[in-house]
């Protein structure tokens, strides 16, 4: 049911959101997450970022997590678009959009998908700075964020 796309070109978040709810009277909540290439500042300024990915595996890995999100939450639609190639600051990197009847499902699924994209989807960021290219290091916070979805009960479940 979900849509997964890997592409070089930019995406239109508004059009993707429209697609998730048109002719769907049961959709009451849409959450979108848009990841944007940050520019950094001063000595840390970035002139561009190149996203390398593992074609084939990246699609499979994201589709697997979309299916897991659909099994865990009551979703009416999911779209994940991840770009690759060279991007300049301000450009979109990734879109996760989730649709549900009530907000808690859409929020939880979008966070879950982002946490997994950060830690399990085979993408690698290389940032171009004045002194040259540098591979972005994985963040331990991202591992912690992904790990929280592995415990069966979550405080989030208090929400609608």
């Amino acid at each position: 049911m979900g849509t997964v796309r890997l592409q070089r070109e930019d995406f239109d978040a508004a059009a993707e959101q429209r697609r998730l709810c048109e002719a769907r009277p049961d959709v009451g909540a849409i959450v979108t997450f848009t990841g944007i290439c940050r520019g950094g500042e001063g000595a840390d300024a970035i002139s561009a970022m190149t996203l390398e990915h593992y074609p084939g595996m990246a699609e499979d890995e994201i589709a697997r997590h979309v299916a897991e999100a659909e099994a865990r939450w009551d979703l009416k639609g999911v779209t994940v678009i991840h770009r690759y190639g060279r991007l300049i600051p301000g450009e979109n990197i990734v879109l996760v959009a989730t649709a549900s009847a009530h907000r808690a499902d859409a929020f939880a699924a979008a966070e879950f998908l982002m946490d997994y994209l950060k830690t399990s989807a085979p993408f690698w960021k290389n940032e171009e700075r004045r002194e040259g290219g540098r591979w972005v290091e994985a963040r331990s916070e991202d591992d912690a964020a992904a790990a929280r979805w592995q415990s069966p009960s979550r405080s989030r479940e208090a929400a609608e």
């Binding site: 084939g56 972005v136 994985a138």
Partner: protein, 83 residues
């Protein structure tokens, strides 16, 4: 079997992919890393810290102890930084 390299593992090894035929005693991902690391300076550099190397067998995440089995495509890469 086909080996793929990504990100700085690719840069250090100096190639995006290659076909290798490891000896029969190389049965796990971890053993394959050790065998590759002994193939030359560039490999030793790429695999100098096996703990930070991630692997996939036929496009599924694998651990050092995962058996290679009849794998056709094995990939090595650093921790992922997508999203």
């Amino acid at each position: 079997m086909k080996i793929l390299y990504f990100a700085w593992v690719r840069e250090r090894v100096g190639k995006t992919e290659e076909t290798v035929e490891p000896p029969a005693h190389v049965r796990t991902v971890g053993e394959l890393v050790a065998w590759l690391a002994a193939r030359g300076e560039e490999y030793a550099y790429a695999f100098e810290n096996p703990k930070v190397i991630r692997a996939a067998i036929d496009r599924t995440h694998a651990k050092p102890e995962t058996a290679l089995g009849a794998a056709r495509e094995i990939a090595f890469f650093p921790p992922m930084t997508g999203g």
